[in-house]
Each structure stands twice: as C-alpha cells, then as structure tokens.
C-alpha cells in the first residue's frame, strides 16, 4: 500500500509541476504560435489532472474543448491576425531554420 501511494504522489507531483511550468511558459512566450502549442499541451495535461482528481467528466470536457477546439480556434485566429501583426511585433529573436545543428 505504502509504495502505491508514493507512486501516485510522485505522479501527481510531476503532473502538478509540469502544469505550473507549462502555464508559465505559455504566458511568457513572446511567440504566439509557440504559446498556442504550449496551450494545447497544457490542456492535455490539465485533462490528466482532472482524471487524477476523479472527475472524468470534466476531463472529457477539458480534452474536447480545452485542448481540441480552443487549440484549433486559436490557430485559426492566429492565421487571421498574423499579416497585421507582422510589422509591429517581432516574432522571435533569431529567424527559424529547418536544421538545428
């Protein structure tokens, strides 16, 4: 019993920390697209958190609305916004390239 509780505690701790960190990264991201992807990831983890809180129905809503639909809507919104914002807000400090090393 003891070991099982500890494992569950470890799971909850990792989940909680990852959520906090993701939330912070989402808010702090200067790049809108990255913020949206982080938000989708946040929604997925949040659904897992609801599961751990024994609320599968809320988890269902979170997965469907939070991660799926809101993510898609935000991406669509971004594609509408982008041309106007391009001149005002710098996207990222260095230009992206397709090969990292």
């Amino acid at each position: 019993m003891e070991a099982l509780t500890q494992l569950q505690l470890a799971f909850d701790a990792v989940l909680g920390l990852a959520l906090l960190w993701l939330a912070w990264q989402t808010l702090a991201s200067p790049e809108l697209f990255r913020a949206i992807v982080l938000f989708i990831a946040f929604g997925l983890l949040m659904a897992l958190a609801w599961v751990r809180l024994e609320a599968p129905d809320v988890a269902l809503a979170e997965a469907a609305i939070g991660a799926g639909l809101t993510g898609a809507l935000l991406l669509t919104a971004l594609s509408r916004l982008e041309p106007k914002n391009k001149s005002k807000i710098p996207h990222s400090k260095k230009p992206e390239s397709e090969v990292d090393e």
Binding site: E98, V99, D100, E101
Partner: protein, 99 residues
C-alpha cells in the same frame, strides 16, 4: 501472479520502451521528416503493445473492443497527420536533411 499478469507486465514495459524511443527520436532526429518517422512508428507500436497488455486484463469483450477502437483511431490519426505534415512541409520547401 497469473500467466496473463506476467504477459501484461512484459507488454506494458515493451510499450513504454517504444514511447521512450519515440521521444528520443523526436529529440535526436535532424529534420521534420525523420521526426515524423519516429513519431508515427514508435508511438503506434508503443500504444499497440500497451493496448494488447491491457486487453488481457479487460473485464469484458466490449472493453477489448474499445481498446482496439482507440488504437485504430490513433493509427489512423497518426498516419493521416504524418502525411498532411509531409505534404505541406514539401510545399513549403523544407529541405531534406543530408549528412
């Protein structure tokens, strides 16, 4: 511990190993296309093994069916998304990685 428990244990650990490999591939592979390879294959096999392991423990045939349904959906989603991303990446002119 029964025989089915032992098989489940093996399948779950193998499945988890494939998920780890998927993440390693995602982090190590050099371009979008190769990362897609790692994702579609390793993850689908990982989930497949996990589904097989959990199906052995399922309480009814309907649950086995539901697990298989979830796996099929993920397979379909993985393959379609991989294809879409590849098409658009090629249209955008993202070059293939060369050593």
């Amino acid at each position: 511990m029964s025989v089915s428990d032992i098989i489940t244990t093996i399948l779950l650990i193998a499945g988890a190993a494939f998920f780890l490999v998927g993440t390693v591939g995602l982090l190590r592979f050099p371009d979008v296309y190769t990362r897609l390879h790692a994702l579609t294959k390793a993850d689908n096999v990982g989930l497949g093994l996990m589904v097989a392991g959990l199906a052995l423990q399922a309480e009814s045939w309907a649950v086995v069916g539901k697990l298989l349904l979830i796996w099929c959906l993920v397979l379909l989603a993985g393959a379609s998304v991989a294809h879409l991303v590849t098409v658009v990446a090629r249209q955008r002119g993202i070059k293939l990685w060369k050593r």
